[in-house]
Symmetry: C3
Subunit: 214 residues, 3 copies
């Protein structure tokens, strides 16, 4: 990539990551709402809260206005479209909505939002600890709200598998590569890839972290 292209590449990458993260979390919200026996409106609501909750808190805490989904309201239409589409597909196929159909999109969203939130915080001049927190909040709050509304104890706190820890790790990669002077887009991609892959492996192989006090 030539030097002059860089200024326009990063925003495109950020937008792409945002769209993908919103869609991934929306999917996990749809699956969770369906498993809880909600109607279409309820499923749309949970999908929206899961997809937009974390980023909204990030924008709120960093004082960025307007909120990302108020400015880019195509995200809202995409979520609604996805809900309707999922409804049609599921009615036809009579497919089972498994626990894994919540977890895998959630893992994708976790990696995307943790790297993006950290990178946005760094660009706003936040300190290291605040940038990590923004990565963690924007990637985990959606899932916590999803579980709360579906009346499940948030898995981020209750299972003993690495989740918030991986978001911290992904944020650390973005911050570390930034400190080393790498371009922002490389840090973003590295953070996304490492966090999402690690989370998928955790789910597939049921890795767990030891209890605090055995």
């Amino acid at each position: 990539m030539s030097e002059w292209a860089a200024p326009s590449f990063l925003p495109v990458l950020q937008s792409t990551i945002e769209v993908l993260a919103v869609l991934a979390f929306a999917l996990s919200g749809i699956a969770s709402g369906l498993r809880a026996g909600m109607d279409l409106i309820g499923v749309c609501f949970v999908a929206g809260v899961t997809a937009l909750g974390g980023g909204t808190l990030r924008d709120l805490l960093l004082d960025r206005r307007p909120f990302f989904w108020i400015e880019q309201d195509h995200l809202l239409w995409m979520i609604i479209g996805l809900c309707v589409l999922a409804s049609l597909v599921l009615r036809r196929s009579h497919a089972e909505v498994t626990e894994r159909s919540i977890q895998i999109p959630d893992a994708v969203g976790l990696g995307l939002f943790s790297a993006l939130g950290t990178q946005i915080a760094l660009a706003e001049g936040s300190s290291v600890i605040v940038a990590i927190l923004m990565g963690v909040f924007s990637s985990t709050l959606g899932g916590v709200l999803r579980d709360t509304f579906c009346n499940v104890i948030p898995k981020a706190f209750s299972d003993h598998q690495p989740y918030i820890l991986l978001a911290v790790f992904g944020s650390g990669i973005v911050i570390g590569l930034d400190a080393l002077g790498w371009p922002a887009w490389m840090g973003l991609l590295a953070g996304v890839l490492v966090t999402t892959s690690a989370r998928v492996l955790v789910i597939l192989y049921r890795w767990s972290i030891p209890q605090w006090r055995p």
Copy 2:
């Protein structure tokens, strides 16, 4: 109504709707807190959160400051007065606090806040989808918080009666009449009347919407 009166009529109507909506939701919060066996402070708290929660989120998301109840703090006194009054009346009359004494004021608040939230969002220049969301959030979040604090699964998600759907419908009326060029106060009144009447009918006749997947 003559032409020159219009600029002053709309704000008065908006304030009236706001006061009525706050009182209606406060009543439903009082009834819900009483049924959950809370003390006077707990009842005041739930009444306040139910009455002010939705509008606060609306102001937050639309970036309107100060929040409506910080600017008009007579609303807070009204809620406290209503709690004390309800306490005195109930002690004397030994009346039963029924499920319906939560639902009917809730229906009134639903219609008032959904139309008002949509109209405020339109006036701030929001897009159609954002205006609908503001109508939905400001009219349903209070009830969701009320149910959560009283340790009940939010009825907006769990029963299969139209609720959020009616808020969407009321918002649509306000937006539709606005697009047709009707004055804002007509859209407001139409939205309120249709939504509240529909919700009352839903409660009285126990109408339900079909399950997403039977």
Copy 3:
């Protein structure tokens, strides 16, 4: 204290109160998270939310930016340090984490944050009722979130011991002394001392307030 010292003494007192309140609530969050069987990351999360939740809502509602813990990010490091320290101490001593190890730090935080929140609201020109609300919110929301995340019905609403009532009372002292023209630091200290002592007495002697309707 001589006249010229006053301008610099109040901010120092406010910062000290803030640090102590954050630490006290963090301790109560750690104890609560441990009792709920969380891992280190979960405990850190609950400690952080308990310690920072109330003050964040206060800053949000009063429109103070940046949030207090984003500006003073040493608070975040202190919370993390406290979690690690508590982990090491508890592993060595095999001490029991009792209900009281949640309640006593909570009582300290209640007094500190209710007086501080009220005083900050007064300094921002809020009305009396809004200043009381800010005292109540900033001192009670942390505990409510802590109990919610640990899947316990918030004790502030469910037990019939004075809690929110004491926060109201502490706010009233700060407002009353301010109205009498006392210097702000005196009101702050008086509010803290009265509220925390009263809450500790309530816990030790199991005082309760009568049910709303027997």
